[in-house]
Amino acid sequence: MRNLQLLGVILFFMGFLLAEQQPIPKEDACIRCHKEMDEEQEEGQKLFPDILNDIHLKRGLSCADCHGGDPEAFDDEDKAMWDNESFSGEVSRTDEIAMCGSCHSDPRFMRQYSTAIRTDQVKQYWTSKHGMELKRGNKKVAICTDCHGVHGILSVEDPRSPVYDMNVPSTCSNCHSNSDYMAEFGIPTDQYYKYRKSVHGEALLDNNDVGAPACNDCHGNHGAIPPDVSHISDICGTCHVNNDQLFQESHLKPIFVKRGFGQCEACHGNHEVLKPNDDFLNWEHGSVCVQCHEDKGGEAKIMADHFYTLLDSLKGQIAIANSFVEKADQKGMEVSDLLFPLEEAHKVLIQTRTSIHSFNKDYVEEIAKPGFEATKTAIEGGKAALAEFDFRRKGLFISSLIITFLALALYLKIKDIDRKQSKDKS
């Protein structure tokens, strides 16, 4: 028993040791010298200790694998660097893509780290806006290290990495929000500002929902390119499948394509996608339809009004049903059965909002129909419960009256018997 306890204690502490144990980078000539030099460097220029967390070093690569030189040449600077043919020193921005790609584009090499690891980054990069500009000789565009970091590169899965889902917007904004830096490209620099206010930005950055899209989810990672107008719905549709499908089949799709409108973007915006609300259909206040139909309301206004009224009416019915059910519940009636139609009505309301993307009056009405039926069931059930409550009260009053009358009659009878008996005795 004591042995078992001892074994338990040992295993417990071993667990700590194992948990703390990380592959320690081998201290070669580069590390030894640069560590000493690092002490004289200013903050922000220091390599250590960040470099020790570098995923490459941890996986057994050394400084020499990127920069060349002889890492075994301790105490001999010339032999380690200047006299060594392989030494490249600082990697130029134009050479960096090929240098990273020498490993990352080699499936055979990369497979030793993970069988699922991708090796198409370089290929994609050259198709991206960044890659194309670099090819043209513009060195201001983003290269691998601008996004992933230089020394101390962390895994994409590491929340400290600049390319971790939640850090991507601020990483992109390092350049894209800098108006001076971006001036020569002639593109806006308010994307981050807009995104930060959007429903996507709120979900990702405020609610920590890593399922919400960051810049790369729409623009791509290594093949980053602005989506053209005709493909916006394809991008939005990867997540908003139903909305996209309905729009693709709608009569508005060819019109949007013909006129070069940005499909989803035309109504919802791009970076600043705000939480949609029913006022998008309110012709008098906040309608997005008026952006195109302003002067020729006609049929478009009729349809928008129809959808708006339909949604408003369903919401109204749900509110009425809710109030009846709540009132009955507060009075102590058993109404849990009515929660199902209420839930159904809420579900249909969401489906109806989605169905608006078909811009088909009959279809939208068909989708909304079960919602109205469900609210009808809940309203009738709520009314019945309240009527039952009244019936119980009235029933109680009548029953109580009868019982009290009986009790009173009995009391009088008892008194009468008592009186007769005492009379008989006397």
Partner: protein, 354 residues
């Protein structure tokens, strides 16, 4: 020949009629306490009738118990009323049985020759508590589920037989569908069968031995004592009390309906405010207050052993109260009863306040 004569030839009804004519009830300051037994009996009958009606729709089982009770209260015509009457009369039944027990105790009605009446009455009280404990789980809602878990845990702490008792109650290691089936069987078959037999014995003993009077009244000469005929005077007063109680039950049922709550979920965490039924609260609160360890013994175990010992002393009071045997009041037992009542009330209120 009339029906009565015909039945009389076979059932000797004349003797019963003769007995009822002669049966009389003492009239004094404590006559009102005589009605408590009758009220308890009325509430028990109400329980049986409403319980049988509930049985027509109730379906034991994890997947059906909660749903069937919901069906009863929401869909079955007057189902809500039957369930409310069953629940409320159950609580009033236990309240009046306790009240009946204490009045019998202070009237010293347990003294010779009525020891057996006391013993049978005490057993009926234990069974009534068993009715309450087993019936509480049957709607299979969250509060009942966890209260049963706690209650059966306490039973499991009893030394020697605890483990056996726990498994016997739960039908396994945990409160589950097996517990529900078991409690259903206990509630509608086992306890009612034993209860009916004991109730029969209790009533026969009361009829055979007549109403007990307090020791001080016994000293009054027979010719100076006042009586009223059992039939019709007392019987009609009994019925009058029953009508008042029926009215109270109806009022409670309509104005204070019992919530069905949320269906029990094995995986859900215990909701806040899990408390036993009010009649177990004084014991529950005591167990909560006892420190984890008292000297060398576990606090909970000490509490349970104390309650068991207290229950045994209370049960055997007719044999222990030497003064009552000779027709005198014992100050010790009087104070014992008073302190017990104060303790029970205080702990119950405390239990609900914290």
């Amino acid at each position: 020949m009339g029906i009565y004569e015909s039945l009389n030839e076979r059932l000797y009804l004349d003797k019963i009629v003769e007995f009822s004519k002669k049966k009389k009830v003492p009239v004094f300051y404590g006559t009102i306490w005589y009605y408590l037994g009758g009220v308890s009996l009325f509430l028990f009958i109400t329980q049986v009738v409403s319980g049988v009606l509930l049985l027509l729709y109730y379906q034991p089982g994890v997947a059906t118990a909660f749903e069937s009770v919901r069906f009863i209260v929401s869909k079955v015509e007057f189902g809500w009323l039957i369930r409310e009457i069953h629940s409320w009369s159950a609580n009033l039944f236990i309240f009046f049985v306790f009240l009946h027990m204490f009045t019998v105790f202070f009237a010293k009605a347990y003294r010779k020759p009525r020891e057996l009446t006391w013993f049978s009455g005490m057993l009926l009280l234990f069974l009534a508590l068993g009715f309450g404990f087993s019936g509480y789980l049957l709607p299979w809602n969250e509060l009942a589920f966890f209260a049963t878990k706690v209650g059966s845990d306490i039973a499991g702490s009893i030394p020697v037989v605890g483990d056996f008792l726990l498994r016997l109650l739960r039908g396994g290691d945990e409160v589950s569908g097996a517990t529900l089936s078991r409690f259903f069987g206990i509630h509608v078959a086992i306890i009612p069968a034993v209860f009916t037999v004991l109730l029969g014995i209790h009533l026969v003993l009361v009829q055979v031995q007549g109403m007990s009077i307090p020791p001080e009244l016994e000293k009054v000469p027979e010719e100076d004592r006042r009586y009223m005929p059992f039939f019709p005077n007392f019987a009609l007063r009994d019925v009058l009390t029953w009508l008042i109680i029926l009215n109270v039950v109806a009022l409670l049922a309509v104005f204070f309906p019992w919530e069905l709550g949320v269906k029990a979920d094995f995986l859900a965490p215990a909701p806040p405010g899990v408390k036993p039924e009010w009649y177990f609260m004084f014991m529950y609160q005591t167990l909560r207050l006892i420190p984890a360890h008292v000297w060398f013994i576990e606090g909970e175990l000490l509490g349970i052993l104390t309650f068991m010992l207290g229950g045994l002393i209370w049960f055997f009071v007719p044999l222990l109260d030497k003064k009552a045997k000779v027709g005198e009041r014992s100050k010790f037992w009087n104070w014992f009863g008073i302190i017990l009542i104060i303790y029970m009330i205080t702990m119950t209120i405390w239990g609900y306040l914290v």
